[in-house]
Amino acid sequence: MDGSATGGGIEVEALVREFKNGPRAVDGIDLEVGQGEIYGFLGPNGAGKSTTVLMLTTLLPPTAGSARVGGFDVVSEGPRVRATIGAALQEAALDPLLTGREHMRLQTAMHGLGKEERASRGGELLERVGLAYAADRKVGGYSGGMKRRLDLALALAHRPRILFLDEPTTGLDIQSRTALWEEVSRLAAEDGVTVFLTTQYLEEADALANRVGIIDHGHLVAEGTPAELKAEIGRPTVEAVPRSEGERERMAAVLARFGERAGSSPRGVAVRLEGGESQLAEVVRALDAEQIAIEHLQLHAPSLDDVFLAKTGRSLEGAGEDQPEEAGAVGSA
C-alpha cells in the first residue's frame, strides 16, 4: 500500500446522491482510498453504501460532488473507470441457465480479451476461486457461496486494479465467508488490488479492512483503522450476570456507579467503564461489598459496534430497519 489515492486509488469529495421525492441517500461524503488498501464501508441497510458504490462504479450519476477512481473522473471518464475496476454488486447477478465456464467466457469476451486468453483466464480464475470442479454445471444449481465466488471471479476477469465488493458475504455460511475473505486479502496483499468493500458485518470490516468508514443516513460519521476507531472510543465494557435473577436490579445500581449502561445479554447488566479496564477490580469489590453473587463476569474490549453506537447513538444491529431501501441504477431508471 502506498497510501496514494491517485492511479490505483479512490478519491471522493462532497459526493451527493438525491433521489426524486426521497431523502439524500448519500449526503456529502469525502473519502480517500490508497492503492492496495482494503477499505471497509460499514453501515446498516439503507445507510447509503450501495448508492455510493453505484456512483463510484459509474452506474449512477452523482447529484453533486466529485469522485475519481483509478485517477479517472466517474462522470466524465466513465468508460476509463469501468476499464479500471471490477465489481461484484449486492446480488450475485448470474444467469441460472449458463454454466460457470460460459459466464467466464461471456465476461472475458465483453471485456475484449483475445480468444486464447479468454479460455486460459477463465480457467485460471475458476481454479483460483475453487470452482473448477463445477465449471460445467449450470449456475442455477450452485450454492450461495459458489455464486459469490463466481461473482468474484467474473469481477476479476479483466485484471482490474480496483475492486468493488458490495456486501459480498451477506447470507453466506462462515466457511464460505472465510474463504472469500482469504481471497480478498490475497488480492490486496499479493496483486496490489485496491478493494472497496461494503458490509454490515462488523467482524468482516474488522478482519479484512485496513481502514473503515462508517456511514449512517448518507453521512460518513467515522473513519480510521479499526484499532484507531476503537481507541477513540477507548472504554471497555464490563458485563456481569447475577447468580439470582432477583439481584439484577441491585447489580445494575452498583454497576451504574462505574459508567453508562451498554447492551448486554438478557440476564446480564453491562456498563461502559469510564475509568477503563483498571476499574474491573473495583467493580468486583463493589459487588462483593453488596453481597451480590456473580455467576459470570466478562470484560469486552471496545468493538466497532461500540464505535457505531458512540457515533450514531444506535447499535448497528437492526439500525437499518427504519431506513428506506436504496435504489439501484438499472432498477431505478
Binding site: 471490477g86 460460459e102 461471456l106 441504477a329
Partner: protein
Amino acid sequence: MSGSLRTQVGHLAHRSVLRTLRQPAQIVPAIVFPLFLLAVNSGGLEDATNLPGFPTDSYLTFILAVPFIQGALFSVMNSGTDLARDIETGFLNRLALTPLRGAALLSGLLAGSFVLGVVQAVVYLSVGLIAGAELAAGAAGALVLVVLSVSITVAFGTIGLFAALRFGSGEAVQGLFPVFFVFLFLSAMALPLDLLTTDWFHTIASVNPVTYLLEAIRSLLIEGWNVPDLALGFGIAAAIGTIGMLAASSALKTRLVRT
C-alpha cells in the same frame, strides 16, 4: 461492424440461443399453442370456403398463415421476459460494467428470437403440409416463407425488448401478450379482408398491419408469387423491426444510466 462489436454480438447471441434452447417452457407453448388453434380453426370453419370470393377451397391452407403470426407474438414475450429478468437480477448491471455496446446487447438478445422463429416456421409449415395444406409457391416459396416468418418474429421481438427496457419487469412484458392478441383478432385472420362486411371491423382490419403480414404469408400458400403482397409483408416487418429497435435503443439509454 468492428471486431469488438462482432465479438460482443456473437457472444450475446450465443447466450441468447443457449437460454432459449435450455428453456423448453419457452419453446413448447410457442409451437404447440398455435398448432392447437390451427387444428380447431381449420376443422370448425371449413365451410367458410363456400363464401363467394373465398380465395381457396382449403380452409387449412388459408388459416395456416395464422400460426406464423401467433408464434411471432410469443417472441415478444420470450425476448422481453428474458431481458426483464436480466434487469431484475442485476445481470444487465454486470454487462453495463463492461465496454458493452447497446447495439450488441439488443442484436444479441434477438438471436434467441431468430432461432425460435426458425424452429417455429419449419414446424408450422411441415405440420401444415402434412395435414394437407397447399404451398402454391413451391420449394423456393417455402424458403421465402421461413425467411418472412423469421423476419416477423424478430421484428415482434424488438417490441418485447422495448417493453422490458421501458418497464423493467417480466410481469409487465407478459401483460402485453393479450394486447397483441387483440391485434391478431382484429385483423383478416379468419376471413379475407374483402369478405369482412361489418364496416367497423373492415376499417380496423384494413389499417391493422397484422392483416398485411397474414396476406403476405397467404400469398405464398395460396397464390404463388405475388410480389406486391410479399413486398408489403417484408416492408411492414422491417418497419416494425426498425421502430421497435429505435424505441428499444432509446429505452436502453434511459435504463443504462452509466456515465
